[in-house]
């Protein structure tokens, strides 16, 4: 195929969908070369997953493909609405919030023609939790009663896990604690069913196109390793009449400039997450209607190691937090619609669960200087050398330099910037061998708890070494509380405590920048970047 150079045309009739309320940026100028392909095949770029086993997937590129091949009990909604029916047509929750009963539809089929049954889910979840599967995702199933012990190998009898197929079409799930976000968890690929008979024949080769049996809206037809993944509509899917794409192609590239060129030439219709940073201000200036910025349920922060001087002193931590101008980071370095953060939990929970985040200290150099002086370090004198560690990446260095200058101006402190290769940074953080280190979190499920649990005293990613009995007690209380308002109050209390103790300096809330052809419909901003191809169509 030879690509024709982009033609300049002035009269392409287009209709733009109304800008969604949650979007950060939408332009109005529709560029040329925006004609829907006649074959109805949606083409996008992806980082090229190396495996597609739902029980094992933990990275986003595999998820983006597999979520269209395997359908769990419930599905992510288009946009940010509550989950919608998937294999389960409906479900009930017991009043104590501990038992979920899912009623499976009888017309859900595997692509080999067999009916999807409750036993398929029991098999899949057992496989995901089996220690020998060594799934990195297993932890997401630990909300189920007994799942953790089974995964740890303490119990080898799966009947101790709270999952029972009452009959072919009824599945009951018992949870450890009331988990109001369980319906959201159930949408995740780790909860999808897998075809037992296929796995037992082909073992680890069962996800190759020639062997794979699926139950989702699309099926795999070609998988050229590190080149492309081709899917076509699955006619046996129960809701096939509402699937409007004939197929989809995921082209492998990790090079954002290549992705950009492929998009501009018309080969690709969507470039999730790979718009070159230097192109973003230009696309915004041009007011391009096909350039989107949406908020993400993610926060960026820098951890303060709390068991080492000087950050063992709470006043120093608060002073640091107040001395850093996050708005400057967002406006001068990032420049793609991120919002400066004053707390841990991103701001979009109010319409979802009514939770209003507790705001921490604002930028206040005057008070920061006072606090630092009170802590015994007037104008920063007497402070030990402080190092800021981050992984090698141009954006991180620019942010680091800005913070470095900022702290010099506000507190008179000279910090050292240290960039590290990614795994080295992870090891440094895990060992707690740092002062001020890059961190961040993206939601596993749309609930503030996914962020708060990071700072649990026993949390695996609690690299700051935050240990607060009061905070842990609040978390335990939140886990037990099913009532929404009471729960929100507790969450806010926990966040206030974090704002007071400052185990990390919140920097900003992430956004997602992407290019999406103007003829693509059914695609809405989604805080966790879950976009099911099932909803997409061309117009």
């Amino acid at each position: 195929m030879v690509l024709s150079p982009p033609t300049v045309s002035s009269s392409i009739p287009t209709t733009t969908s109304p800008t969604p309320a949650s979007a950060v940026f939408r332009g109005t100028v529709v560029p040329p070369n925006q004609k829907a392909p006649a074959d109805n095949v949606f083409v996008f770029v992806e980082a090229g997953p190396e495996f597609l086993d739902p029980n094992k997937i933990s990275e986003s590129s595999g998820n983006q493909i597999a979520m269209n091949l395997f359908e769990p009990l419930l599905n992510y909604a288009r946009g940010n609405g509550p989950p919608v029916p998937g294999v389960a047509a409906k479900y009930e929750v017991s009043p104590d919030g501990l038992t979920y009963t899912f009623h499976l539809r009888k017309n859900a089929l595997w692509s080999n023609g067999r009916t999807v049954t409750a036993q398929d889910f029991v098999y899949s979840w057992e496989r995901g939790l089996r220690p020998a599967t060594a799934s990195r995702n297993a932890q997401l199933l630990w909300y189920i009663r007994g799942a953790k012990a089974y995964n740890q190998g303490q119990s080898t009898d799966f009947s101790t896990v709270g999952v029972v197929a009452q009959d072919d079409f009824t599945l009951t799930v018992e949870l450890e604690t009331p988990t109001p976000f369980f319906p959201h968890l159930v949408c995740y690929i780790a909860y999808a069913p897998v075809p037992r008979e296929t796995i037992e024949i082909y073992n680890e080769n069962w996800t190759r196109p020639e062997n794979m049996v699926v139950n989702g809206p699309f099926q795999l037809t070609e998988w050229a390793f590190r080149d492309r993944i081709v899917m076509k509509k699955n006619d046996r899917y129960w809701d096939a009449e509402n699937v409007r794409l004939a197929g989809a192609v995921a082209l492998h590239t990790e090079n954002e400039n290549t992705a950009f060129q492929l998009y501009e030439s018309g080969t690709v219709h969507w470039t999730p997450a790979v718009v070159p940073a230097e192109k973003i201000p230009i696309l915004m200036r041009d007011g391009r209607a096909d350039f989107h910025i949406d908020p993400l349920m993610c926060v960026s922060y820098y951890l303060l190691r709390m068991d080492q001087s000087p950050f063992d002193n709470p006043a120093v931590r608060r002073a640091f937090n107040m001395a850093i101008d996050k708005k400057r980071i967002v406006d001068h370095v990032l420049r793609s619609g991120q919002s400066p953060a004053r707390n841990l939990v991103p701001p979009m929970f109010e319409p979802i669960s009514g939770y209003v985040p507790a705001q921490g200290d604002d930028y206040d150099p005057e008070r920061a200087r006072k606090l630092l002086a009170e802590a015994g370090y007037p104008n920063g004198t007497g402070l030990p050398a402080i190092e800021m560690v981050f992984n090698t990446f141009e954006g991180n260095r620019l942010i680091g330099e800005l913070v470095q200058r900022n702290l010099k101006e506000t507190l008179g402190i000279e910090i050292t910037l240290i960039n590290m290769e990614w795994k080295s940074l992870l090891q440094t953080l895990q060992r707690g061998d740092f002062h001020f280190g890059r961190g961040g979190w993206c939601a596993d499920y749309p609930d503030p708890m996914t962020f708060l649990e990071v700072f649990d005293s026993r949390g695996e990613s609690n690299y700051a070494g935050y240990k607060s009995a009061e905070y842990d007690a609040l978390l335990a209380q939140i886990r037990k509380t099913a009532h929404v308002t009471a729960r929100n109050d507790l969450i806010q209390k926990a966040e206030k405590l974090l704002n007071h103790d400052v185990p990390m300096v919140p920097f900003y809330f992430y956004t997602r920048s992407y290019l999406l052809k103007s003829f693509v419909r059914g695609f809405e901003p989604q805080y966790q970047d879950h976009h099911l191809l099932k909803y997409i169509y061309f117009e």
Partner: protein, 372 residues
């Protein structure tokens, strides 16, 4: 000649063994582990991974009881028979061997049953090494971590290396057919306009590198003129620009080497003798000078072939080619031990074989070289 080849092959085996051994230990000495991730895995989940890939095993309790004390911590190095748990009947559960404790799966007050996993111990490095060497000998490099064990190293390389080799062959053909004649012409007419023009171009080629040349060619020939595809390796038209990018750079090297070789040879006594005998200039160049002039290029051909056949990280990235070179980088960054070992053996093997071929080639080109 036969004895020479056998001797060289034997030393090649030794060289590869040294490389493999060094890589094995260096890789494991690098900071961070293969299963470290953005969001840290729970110790249990991480231990399951270590065990699955044969780099750790579980300590099991041999009896029932309630745990009253956990006597070691995660990360501790325990010795053989060191007690790790105390039970309520006063007895202890000990480690069967020495090693680093990856995780402890029980806490105080837990009930343990016979045969239950209580902790995970890393397999000692030397033992890992011996097991690994045994399977490498049968050419089994195991499964890659990045595919969560769903692809073997062999398959991963077998699917990508042919693409890199194809690119390498095209590039080498371009390099030889362009570089050597240019160098010969320049060497025969030193300090002429032909020499200056071609050597300036070669110098530019050597200094440009793929990282500049690649995007330039894309911009001109793919984006503006639209003659070729932007990326990929699916169609013949997609293969032209990457082959040119890599080939032109090597052509520049060969041109400079050949020119130098020709300048050297043309001043030799035996060429003067040939001229004195009144041989025509064309016979002198083709029959006598040429073989000597390309010797430096032949020397360079060994490493150049090994380098191009395993792909160029830069060219494959720029043109988005699904070749093997990516694994040299991603394997190391992800601490994907089996994959790194696979590509290290591939590269060192090719390097050794190519150098051997070059040495054999010498015997044919240079009458002074004899292997006995």
């Amino acid at each position: 000649m036969g004895r020479f080849v056998v001797r060289r092959l034997l030393s090649a085996v030794l060289v590869i063994w040294v490389i493999v051994t060094l890589s094995f230990f260096l890789m494991r000495a690098a900071p961070g582990g293969p299963f470290d991730a953005d969001r840290r895995l729970h110790p249990t989940v991480e231990a399951n991974l270590w065990v699955t890939y044969g780099m750790a095993d579980m300590i099991r309790s041999h009896k029932a009881g309630r745990v009253t004390d956990v006597l070691i911590q995660k990360g501790d190095t325990v010795s053989s028979h060191q007690p790790i748990l105390r039970l309520d009947d006063g007895t202890t559960i000990s480690s069967p061997r020495s090693g680093e404790c990856l995780s402890i799966l029980v806490t105080t007050q837990d009930l343990v049953k016979p045969d239950q996993n209580v902790a995970a111990l890393k397999t000692p490095l030397v033992q890992q090494y011996l097991t690994a060497m045994a399977s490498y000998l049968s050419l089994d490099f195991g499964v890659t971590f990045s595919s969560e064990g769903q692809r073997t190293v062999f398959e991963t390389i077998a699917q990508t290396a042919p693409i890199s080799m194809e690119l390498g062959i095209y590039a080498m053909l371009i390099a030889l057919f362009l570089g050597i004649p240019t160098g010969l012409v320049a060497g025969l007419r030193p300090n002429s306009w032909v020499d200056y023009t071609s050597m300036s171009m070669a110098m530019t080629g050597v200094s440009l590198s793929e990282i500049v040349l690649g995007p330039m060619l894309i911009l001109v020939f793919a984006v503006h003129l639209g003659w070729f595809e932007l990326s990929g390796w699916a169609t013949p038209s997609a293969k032209i620009l990457p082959a040119l990018t890599l080939g032109l750079i090597y052509a520049a090297y060969f041109a400079r080497l050949t020119r130098g070789g020709m300048l050297d040879v043309i001043r030799q006594d035996y060429i003067r003798t040939a001229r004195a005998k009144g041989l025509p200039e064309s016979t002198i160049v083709v029959r006598h000078a040429l073989r000597g002039a390309i010797l430096p290029s032949v020397t360079f051909l060994g490493p150049a072939l090994a380098g191009t056949l395993t792909g160029s990280v830069v060219v494959e990235r720029i043109y988005n080619i699904p070749g093997v070179s990516e694994f040299f980088v991603s394997g190391a960054l992800n601490r994907d031990y089996p994959l790194v070992m696979g590509v290290v053996v591939l590269y060192s093997g090719l390097l050794v074989v190519m150098n051997l071929l070059v040495d054999i080639g010498y015997a044919f080109l240079d009458p002074r070289v004899k292997y006995d």
